[in-house]
Subunit: 340 residues, 3 copies
């Protein structure tokens, strides 16, 4: 498929500067682009990369000057480029039947208009699925679940009974929502299970990554606040109350009954103990271990987690530790303070 | 649904003190309860929370005194409360056919009485399923597996061939039991696979969390001892021999051929190296990294893991490290011992 | 099943020394073997274990001397033993139909000869499956995927659209290939999704563990180089470019856009930040956290990761830290340098 720069500019409603008749056959990033490709420049800081890129044209912000190759100026180059990629590579999805004849939808389930259910997917009894929601192949929606509008449940995602999902929630492949919380009591030398009778509530616009697990509450809900984004392989323990617009990166683990505020960010492999309160806009840096409450606005690092500045100073000093030890030995010798 | 305190007391065989005719419409925990709710008090230490709770009634241990609101005294308030929750919120499961017509059970598989197999579930050739065991929707039981009585295999759990599960084992959603161990040998600059011909044996009363993986042994079994509870996203390497009544919290990883004793506890995100022996009743605190054997009864912490007291002292001193460094500089200057 | 040592030697083309008529009924490792079993000795360093083993016979390298019990000398005892185990325990797989009548293969998909597709598996539109490839029960291959020859996709593995797999690739159970990268931009106080329009390319002879996730690139590919082996529960972020013959152990996480060279080894629970370059033959030890580029051939450890020798010295000194602190106090007192 080949198309002119001018035509692309029409798709993205941008302003062409330079040769609008240049034919474009592919769209790739600055580093990967080849002659014949269009690319994009997201910020002025990528100008050097644009000058050395092999691309024949670029979608750029208004601030980028002409440099000989045609450019398309737009307000949001990233989204404009995404639209171009979709148009150039786009593969039409053949519309199968909305409800696959190989899906199993319980007769008591209520499906709004526009709902799609893929093959080998299950929608359990008394579940309710909102308008334009898609349940992909092999996904399982348990009993008494309630899914909002335009939700996407990817292949093999598993929703246990009684999960509640808001609008535009996305659950990626093989994620598990609503499995039993990890709660036991010791009785006669054995771990006796505490019944896990609660549920999971996921608010609007939450995205849950592949193979992530969010356990159901013991008696009440485990909650994920609106707009929160959760990466792959994350664990959210039972009874947690995660705030709005959190970012939880891959392999984060949050133990049971912990509450986070809004706009909390946890980088990869962070662990947070149970029954804690993490304030609004806290940032927890990668691999940190949190065992106490954190007040709003803090940035913490390390195991145990400390304020970032303090921990960074400690970590830098740690590299000097063998030298410090030698110094102390030397001083002791100098002063005749050796042990024994 | 509304019901009197007296009626609830009959369900849980408890003793009513106060107004038994009070109508109750919901059951929630101390912090979440509203007027009209019944709640529960597990220990005396929650008495303050009970006094300030908005709940209209409570299920309490025998030690809790009357405080004006009706109480139900029982020996085990948690379990009594769980029974009340189930009764109040209970949703009858509509009994479908025991073996879904959309399941695939191999003709050579042997199913005892009371076995349920959900839609799109598979039971492979020559597998044997014990009395009252449930294989949920989309779960896969491979060939030559042997499952005990009252086992529950949740949706999308995958049992490779030749897994052996005792009685009352629970496998949660998307867990994978019996995938190949991670064993390779370098041959001609490539990683050549060591055949993984063993199996997995899980003893009675083990619970395995969602998205947890337990690899098969190389030539023999990977074993999980009776009563051990494993949380979500845990990795158990090939040839491991996990003892009885262990608690392995979320995101723990145990490398191949490691043995643990009985009553071992590993908190979240612990990592244990391969070919180690961890003694009975060892506790490994969160995020610790274990690279050597640990003798019975120890409590360890950190990376590398050290006895808890020792490590805690080191961690506390670490916070003073920049100050210690400054002191050493000052001393060196004082003594004229500066470098160079 | 019972068979003579001589007969076993014929299977593995080995040389018998001692009583070739001895009957053998099972094959177990040195530690587990019982009388009547054959075992194997991989290296001379296991000679003591062989002398004390209860096994009746052994498969050994050429260097092992006779010790009274019959031995079979071969060049590669491990592989010879594996062949014996398979023969002794082997359970013939009943050949079902190559394409299960309960699979869903889209009419536009192109399947080469010898392809098997299990029950409840899906092959999406326009996907292409190479000779002798097996798609196990419940596995999902999306649209426009391209799988090479002799690929094995285990139960419940999920391949999103447009995944490209080379020859002899193995994807274990519940792994997810090609889910959306974790990319957002803050817009009006919300995390707006960056479209994830790329794909995943996995080269020849790669093995991907159970519940591992490899996200698709944003506009281009996420790549895994030939011969790389990935354990369970590993996360590979979007746009990563993993080299050839890497070993990525369980629970490793690599954030987006990071590149690794060839023969890189990451031990368990390692975390690597985004946009980094890790050189050829780098070894990253267990639980390390990498936040900067690493040059080829290095071995690093710790959080933050430092060269192994340096870090090991620091870790050893750390254990002396409380003592060092006391010494510094003592020196300050001795010199009259106490604070305040």
């Amino acid at each position: 498929m080949t198309i002119t720069v001018r035509h692309l500019a029409e798709w993205v409603r941008g302003e062409v500067l330079g040769d609008g008749d240049l034919p474009i056959s592919n769209a790739r990033t600055l580093a990967e682009a080849q002659p014949g490709d269009i690319t994009f420049v997201e910020h002025d800081k990528h100008l050097t990369a644009w000058h050395s890129s092999r691309a024949s044209a670029a979608i750029v912000p208004h601030s980028v000057p002409v440099n000989g190759r045609p450019i398309i100026r737009v307000a949001d180059p990233l989204m404009a480029f995404a639209r171009v990629v979709q148009q150039l590579r786009g593969r039409p999805r053949e519309d199968g039947p909305a409800i696959s004849p190989m899906a199993l939808v319980h007769p008591t389930a209520r499906l709004a208009s526009g709902v799609c259910v893929g093959p080998f997917a299950v929608v359990g009894e008394n579940s309710e699925i909102g308008t334009n929601t898609t349940i992909h192949a092999g996904a399982i929606v348990g009993r008494y679940c309630k899914l909002g509008e335009e939700v996407v449940v990817h292949p093999h995602a598993t929703l246990y009974d009684e999960c509640v999902l808001g609008n535009r929630v996305v659950i990626h492949g093989n994620a598990v929502i609503g499995a039993d919380g990890f709660g036991y009591r010791v009785q006669n030398g054995r771990h006796a299970k505490v019944p896990q009778l609660g549920w999971v509530e996921i608010e609007d616009d939450v995205e849950v990554g592949a193979c992530t697990t969010i356990d159901r509450g013991t008696f009440g809900p485990t909650r994920i606040g609106a707009g929160t984004k959760i990466d792959n392989l994350v664990m959210i323990g039972h009874n947690c109350n995660i705030g709005k617009h959190n970012i939880l990166c891959s392999q984060v683990g949050i133990a049971g009954s912990t509450t986070t505020g809004d706009y909390v960010v946890m980088a990869g492999q962070v662990g947070v103990a149970d029954h804690l309160t993490i304030g609004d806009r806290v940032t927890i840096m990668a691999k940190s271990g949190v065992s106490g409450n954190i007040s709003g606005g803090s940035q913490v690092l390390g195991m145990p987690a400390l304020p970032h500045r303090e921990q960074a100073r400690i970590m830098m000093t740690m590299e000097k530790l063998p030298e410090i030890r030698k110094d102390v030995s030397r001083i002791k010798k100098h002063l005749g303070l050796e042990d024994g």
